[in-house]
């Protein structure tokens, strides 16, 4: 028999089976009666010998069924019927689960975007990041965790490229975005000048990543020549925002900091560069224009500038370990060639210790990953707990119903300082004197350090008059800077950070690139009004100077804080959600517990207890449970707070108000959950309550 027939003939089959069994019984009875047994006994005996008829029928039917599917459908039908019977319960359960699942989906999406997703490039698995763990110059990173790269000079990049045997190709790009003035031909950019963020990349950048332009072309190695006509590729986002996706954008002149670029292409919409950041590049320009774009000396010709990130595409069949071994050999060769004949023992040691660590580059570079990895994981943990609470709630309801530290001077972040910097910044001087307008070139070089510096390097000894030199291991410069003052620690990069050891130097004693700095102005009136004045003054001084991005300090702090704030706000939201769910679950559990005592309450009422006494005793019982819960919960929460306070901005271990209000809220819910059903039960007729199950 084939299964469609089975389906249609099943009803008939079952009927036949019953008939067959009935006939069997009758035949047996008749035979027994014929053998002389009284009919009544015969019936009993026949039944006994045949066995449990309904079980036999069930077993027989099961033979014809697809048991799992049909059981499942039956369970679903039963479940739906039960849910329809109590819409209130259903609504609460569905809402609870929806909130739990929704929160998890949202955070996982964020985590996925920041932590897990591959770059929208060709074969991301072949891409490899060059990460250096030893600082060889002042621009190197001081605490390189897994995703943070150390940087390379242009010369070293070309060395790697020339010696390369393991990569299909290697590209380089500036480790930061610049902020430049942009003028576009024929486009009225309101004030005429706009700020944009160009990314300086080697000519083979798009080639190595395997990204094609959706309009026009990408950059090529021939664009990356100082004599080439300046070409730029713009991002899809920039194209949309500034050019309204106008296809005639190709060939237009785009002047960035005075360099007359021509737009040659538009990148695809999903491509934001090799970085996963909240502020992606607006345009990509060749490295060759670095001096003109940045209006600084050429970093291409000076091997002392570590400013490039490198990404290579592995050759087919070459492992990352093989490539790393090859790159490190080249690195040591390069440094040894650089050092030439006068190779000090210390220098040799540094060279031997230097190394490049290659890491998979398919996910791109992300400082966001670095900064938000922990908070996102905390959030993920949080929402998982919310889901857990949600599940526990639903179960309860169902139940209720059924019843980093640096240790070398060279890794200190330097800060060249104009006079009155500390005053402007509001950093109190603790010892000695600040840097003054007299600390200029020719006068003895001085520095002010912060408390963290004194703690880290001088074991809290009085630092005034002590000397040090920038560039460790360089005997020419050792001990030429004298510490003249100590200021209080301040946070510079993130509000979560431990203040790093800092050295403040005089801007007027600085040389080369160190002589560039930011300008901070303490305004007498509203600081927002000062921006235009500053721009005008600057334009009067130097017409070609790039227009600065003038921002007030609160704005600056605000932008730094935006993401941290978002994380904190999300945490609060989820926290409130968790408390809400906890209340819901608590209410369900307590009211269930009390409702189960309806019977007992009935007995007490029948024995003459008065309503008030009964309600009070139930309330007391609820309160005891709630107090125990609140005490245990507060203890656990306090322990976890210490862990989380390091990860989330604005969370302190001492927040008595929050603690107290949550405790009071939960107590209130517990009491309410006891009170309502207790009062109900005490009003029920004792006879009804006694029969209550």
């Amino acid at each position: 028999m084939k299964w469609p027939n089975q389906l249609f003939s099943r009803r008939r089959l079952y009927g036949e089976l019953s008939e067959e069994i009935r006939e069997h019984l009758e035949e047996k009875i008749e035979e027994l009666v014929a053998g002389g047994m009284p009919r009544k006994e015969a019936v009993a005996a026949a039944r006994r010998e045949l066995g449990n008829v309904s079980l036999i029928e069930q077993d027989s039917r099961e033979v014809w069924r697809w048991p799992s599917i049909e059981d499942f459908l039956m369970d679903v039908r039963y479940g739906l019927r039960q849910l329809c019977k109590s819409p209130g319960f259903t609504a609460v359960a569905v809402l609870t689960l929806a909130l739990g699942i929704g929160a998890n989906t949202a955070i996982f999406n964020a985590l996925d975007a920041v932590m897990l997703k591959s770059l929208p490039v060709y074969r991301p698995d072949q891409l490899v990041l060059f990460a250096d763990t030893v600082g060889q110059g002042w621009t190197s990173s001081n605490t390189p965790p897994a995703d943070q790269l150390a940087y390379f000079p242009y010369e070293l990049y070309t060395y790697f490229k020339n010696q390369n045997r393991t990569f299909q190709d290697i590209c380089a790009f500036r480790n930061a975005l610049d902020n430049v003035n942009v003028r576009v031909d024929g486009v009225d950019l309101s004030a005429g000048v706009q700020l944009a963020s160009p990314k300086q990349v080697s000519g083979n950048y798009f080639d190595v990543l395997g990204v094609n332009a959706i309009l026009g072309r990408t950059l090529t190695p021939s664009d990356d020549q100082p004599t080439a006509p300046p070409a730029a590729v713009i991002s899809f986002r920039y194209w949309s925002a500034r050019f309204n996706r106008d296809a005639s954008v190709l060939g237009r002149a785009l002047e960035a900091n005075g360099v007359p670029f021509t737009i040659v292409g538009v990148a695809p919409p999903e491509f934001f560069g090799e970085r996963v950041e909240s502020n992606p590049a607006d345009l990509w320009v060749p490295l060759a224009f670095q001096p003109r774009l940045m209006q600084r000396e050429s970093w291409l010709e000076n091997g002392a500038y570590y400013w490039l990130d490198l990404i290579g595409r592995l050759k087919q069949g070459v492992s990352i370990e093989q490539a790393q071994a090859a790159v490190n050999v080249q690195l040591h060769q390069y440094f040894t060639e650089q050092a030439g004949s006068h190779l000090s023992r210390e220098r040799q040691g540094n060279i031997d210790a230097s190394k490049v660590e290659l890491s998979p580059g398919g996910r791109g570079i992300s400082y966001m990953r670095l900064f938000y990895s922990e908070p996102l994981h905390v959030l993920m943990g949080g929402v998982l707990i919310i889901l857990l609470i949600a599940c526990a709630n639903v179960a309860t309801l169902l139940l209720a119903r059924a019843a980093g530290r640096p240790n070398q001077e060279m890794s200190v972040a330097p800060n060249a300082v104009g006079p009155r910097y500390f005053e402007t910044e509001g950093m109190p001087l603790l010892l000695g004197r600040p840097i003054t307008a007299q600390d200029v070139k020719g006068s003895p070089e001085v520095a002010v350090v912060n408390e963290a510096f004194v703690r880290s390097f001088l074991s809290n000894a009085n630092p005034i008059g002590r000397r040090f030199g920038p560039g460790a291991g360089d005997p020419q410069h050792s001990g030429e800077v004298e510490i003249v003052g100590v200021v209080k620690d301040a946070k510079f990069f993130s509000l979560c950070e431990q203040p790093p050891p800092m050295v403040f130097l005089s801007l007027f004693q600085a040389e080369g690139d160190m002589a560039h700095g930011g300008l901070e102005i303490r305004a007498a009136g509203d600081p927002r009004n000062i921006a235009e004045e500053v721009r005008q003054d600057l334009a009067e001084t130097d017409k070609s100077a790039p227009m600065p991005d003038v921002r007030t300090m609160p704005e600056q702090i605000h932008s730094r804080l935006n993401q941290e704030r978002a994380i904190s706000e999300l945490s609060s939201f989820f926290g409130i959600l968790a408390v809400l769910l906890a209340c819901l679950g608590l209410y369900g559990l307590m009211s269930y517990t009390v409702a189960r005592q309806t019977n007992e309450i009935g007995v007490r009422m029948a024995l003459g207890a008065n309503q008030g006494d009964v309600v009070w005793s139930i309330l007391g019982q609820g309160a005891r449970l709630a107090i125990v819960g609140v005490v245990l919960g507060s203890g656990a929460a306090f322990a976890l707070m210490r862990l989380i306070s390091n990860l989330l901005y604005g969370v302190s271990t001492h927040d008595p108000l929050t603690f107290a209000s949550v405790a009071v809220l939960l107590m209130f819910v517990a009491l309410l959950a006891s009170f309502v059903p207790a009062r109900q039960a005490s009003r029920v007729d004792p006879m009804v309550a006694l029969r209550y199950e």
Binding site: M1, E23, H24, E49, L50, I56, D59
Partner: protein
């Protein structure tokens, strides 16, 4: 939904009842009651078989096309369903019997005294 163990699994090894049904039907087509009596009688009541357990087994055999059933009239003049062995059933029986015999031989050897 709790499911009971199938009765024949309590008393006999799986497939034993089916094998005996097939063997009995090989001799002649029979209806359920007569089949039950025959098996009981032939085994000299040594096998404790609940008569009812016959029916789920018959349904399994029907499903596998090892037997077929037709309504007819018994010699006691009752409307009964008469079961008949199919060609597939006959083949299956041969196969099962030889398998059983091998198994029995194995068990017997192990149980035989003097050898270990």
């Amino acid at each position: 939904m709790p499911r009971m163990k199938k009765p024949e699994q309590r008393d006999l090894f799986p497939g034993a009842l089916e094998m005996m049904i097939l063997r009995t039907l090989k001799r002649q087509p029979l209806h359920g009651y007569a089949l039950a009596q025959h098996i009981k009688r032939t085994s000299n009541d040594l096998l404790q078989i609940e008569e009812g357990s016959l029916y789920p087994a018959l349904q399994r055999l029907l499903k596998e096309d090892l037997v077929k059933a037709e309504w007819g009239i018994s010699y006691t003049n009752r409307r009964v369903r008469i079961y008949k062995l199919t060609a597939k059933g006959a083949k299956h029986l041969d196969h099962e019997v030889s398998r059983f015999e091998r198994m029995l031989e194995g068990v017997t050897r192990v149980l035989a005294p003097g050898e270990s």
